[in-house]
Assembly symmetry: C2
Homo-oligomer: 150 residues x 2
DNA sequence: CCTTGACTTAAAGTTAACTTTAAGGATTAT
DNA sequence: ATAATCCTTAAAGTTAACTTTAAGTCAAGG
């Protein structure tokens, strides 16, 4: 019989509202979660670990439905090991793509910081507009039609 | 008189729905956007550049309201240069924090991939549960009360 | 004994960021 | 010239992920 915790304790410890934990339970995010005779949820360490992985999956950009796919696999036990392996490799691939895109975004922010550092020093945007080009940082936009349409 | 583009051309070129471009206009994201006598929007290169920066700010996690703050500064011209400088430095700081957190998340995903690679090879999760610990990758959880509350 | 506070449920409400609809005017293709 | 395709507006609808509300149970403290 391992130690268990009430929803309030878990809420405080992980800094997640109780309402959210109940919502997760309703979505079957915690397939092993037990309840007392009077209906009180009893979280054990495995449940808490699952919640922490769910937080991680959310940070990785997964939707509720995608997380449900995962927790359903959890409920299937060892039979779903290969599926879970594939699942995480896929998530990781997508996540690395997202990280790469964010590096690009950081480059733009770096550029804009340098741009406004110079503009503020100049007291005007006019000079810097001539001399600093965003296209040095991001790929040029897809071609627009060259005719004036209006 | 520089070349201008219709909303449809911009929509196609930047792969943003026309409805979204109109929505942005309604929110005053494009302070310099002109309209023809008959009310047709005429996007010029500066407007397009602004849209691309807005896309970047969205990727950086800014809300519509925060983007509105920025476009309002744009409308103020050189008078807002110092504000815009601060704005971008702040955005950049927050963004770097987010990137750092994502590196952490990647570490968890790496762990989970290795975990399930081994589990799938073993054919069971039992072994790997004993031998691989997530806490090697993420800081231990904040302490939970040690008494069993139920 | 009765109040306080944590817990329960189902269901309605919230927020952000679009997206669609309805009703109609202007431009382009055949 | 006339149908198709763009454009306009204001307003209502959508979706995700919670969050709040209403109504009620239950155990412990003064």
């Amino acid at each position: 019989m391992s130690t268990t915790y009430t929803i309030g304790q878990v809420s405080t410890a992980l800094n997640i509202p109780s309402s959210t934990l109940r919502y997760y339970d309703k979505l079957h995010f915690l397939p092993h979660l037990k309840k007392s005779a009077s209906g009180i949820r009893q979280f054990d360490q495995a449940d808490i670990d699952t919640i922490r992985i769910i937080e991680c999956l959310k940070l990785a950009g997964l939707s509720i439905k995608e997380i449900q796919q995962f927790t359903q696999m959890l409920a299937e036990g060892d039979a779903s090991l290969a599926k879970r392996q594939q699942f995480f490799h896929q998530i990781r691939q997508n996540f690395i793509q997202k990280l790469t895109q964010m590096q690009q975004t950081l480059a733009v922010l770096d550029f804009k910081c340098a741009y406004y550092d110079q503009a503020a020093a100049d007291g005007t945007e006019a000079l810097v507009q001539k001399n600093m080009s965003l296209s040095s940082v991001i790929p040029d936009q897809p071609a627009l039609p060259t005719n004036s349409p209006v």
